[in-house]
Symmetry: C2
Subunit: 249 residues, 2 copies
């Protein structure tokens, strides 16, 4: 019998490469705004946008409005602000939706876990509709039960509060020690479920040095680090005894 | 010399076929929600959605949430509401953006009017970002001056209030008698500019009977009815003396 009853996943940079495409989408937005008439150097606009996102959070709804407020007045001379913002928004969304795909092997692992009788869920931080639309566009909803998605905005509990993870365990009647969480951020995705006694896997699917894990405080150190879905599959199969095929083909 | 200094256009069902694609986009949204697990007959869901839109206006932001509230409880048994709504939203937007193109000849006429020294503008009812994004996606912004777009939500004046039209004329310093408005709705697009003394053209670009124009009260009767951009071009050239090429090739 498998040692796990449930595996929960983060979305961003865990099921899909959000970080990378968000950067490209914003870069395309800046270019589209300049094409739409904004009179400023691309790097200047880009640097302001990076600051706006850092200051107002990536989930803020009016990045481009704020961006225009911060640019020198000559950048907006003879410019229709509304059309410039709309050009940025359209380019951002087009890039995002075009590029949104699951990491290789992610969909297959969800499918095979589900077939193996292991509960598959998503516990994610963000706005309800934004996160739900990502799951729809990733094509992953068919592997998720109707009560398997926990979005902080929907639940009213934000990461890193462990209560968000507890809400999922309680809804499914699963003991913490028989559930694993897979996420990319030690503070938000490892420390809270670990505190509850859940198993944890740090997803290092983007190009990042893996050697900083040893430097994490014990409370933030994951049980496992995986750099691909093939590795995660092997871990679940070989270490936790989940009856999965060796490959997700 | 031309008898017109400016031509203003409505967006929806005048520059592009909004009505038709909105219907198709909503139909695809209903299908996607059923695919995402909604347990109800397509026609039942469709009829409820049509009622929601009639009751809450087409610009309301939460059609699908309201729709789910109205369906019988068994339709939602074992269903993740959030994922169903997200599936509907994604299908709606995908259809809308895929199908959004200007009516044949519209872009060319804007270009040629602009080249002929006639001011081209847009006066439209709706939400600022939604209408601005349509213009961006239609590819028409290059023919529009930076101060040529008047959106009711942005100006704070809604159709059929003639003040919305007056705001454009004042901004451009143009006498009403030397400006034409082209729109598809006698109440919103003909009566108000006519009251100001503007020239009016009723755009009948969708398949609709044209014979009801004679039945309109004098206050709502347009100076002209056009059923294509070729007709509008000929009208502006031959009747108003605007120096336009005979065709928009």
């Amino acid at each position: 019998m498998a040692d796990l009853d449930a595996v929960y996943f983060d979305i961003d940079d865990t099921l899909c490469a959000t970080g990378g495409f968000a950067l490209r989408a914003r870069r395309n937005a800046v270019r589209a705004m300049i094409e739409a008439g904004l009179r400023a150097d691309e790097e200047l606009v880009w640097n302001e946008l990076v600051e706006v996102i850092a200051e107002f959070s990536s989930n803020y709804e009016h990045h481009y409005d704020k961006l225009l407020l911060r640019l020198p007045p000559e950048a907006l001379e003879g410019v229709n602000r509304v059309l410039v913002v709309a050009a940025g928004v359209a380019a951002y969304h087009d890039t995002k939706f075009r590029e949104l795909t699951p990491y290789p092997g992610a969909a297959e692992l969800l499918r095979d876990l589900s077939a193996a009788g292991v509960r598959v869920g998503v516990i994610t931080h963000g706005w309800t509709m934004k996160q739900a639309e990502k799951l729809v566009r990733l094509g992953l909803t068919r592997w998720l039960d109707h009560d398997a998605v926990f979005i902080s905005d929907q639940i009213g509990i934000a990461k890193p509060n462990p209560k968000l993870y507890l809400a999922a365990l309680r809804a499914h009647g699963i003991a913490p020690g028989r559930a694993m969480y897979v996420g990319d951020n030690p503070v938000n995705d490892i420390a809270p479920p670990k505190r509850l006694g859940m198993r944890t896997a740090l997803a290092r699917l983007r190009q990042r040095p893996a050697d900083d894990v040893a430097a994490l405080p014990e409370s933030h150190r994951p049980d496992h680090v995986v750099t691909s879905y093939a590795e995660l599959r092997a871990l679940l199969r070989d270490v936790y005894g989940v009856p999965l095929p060796a490959s997700g083909a």
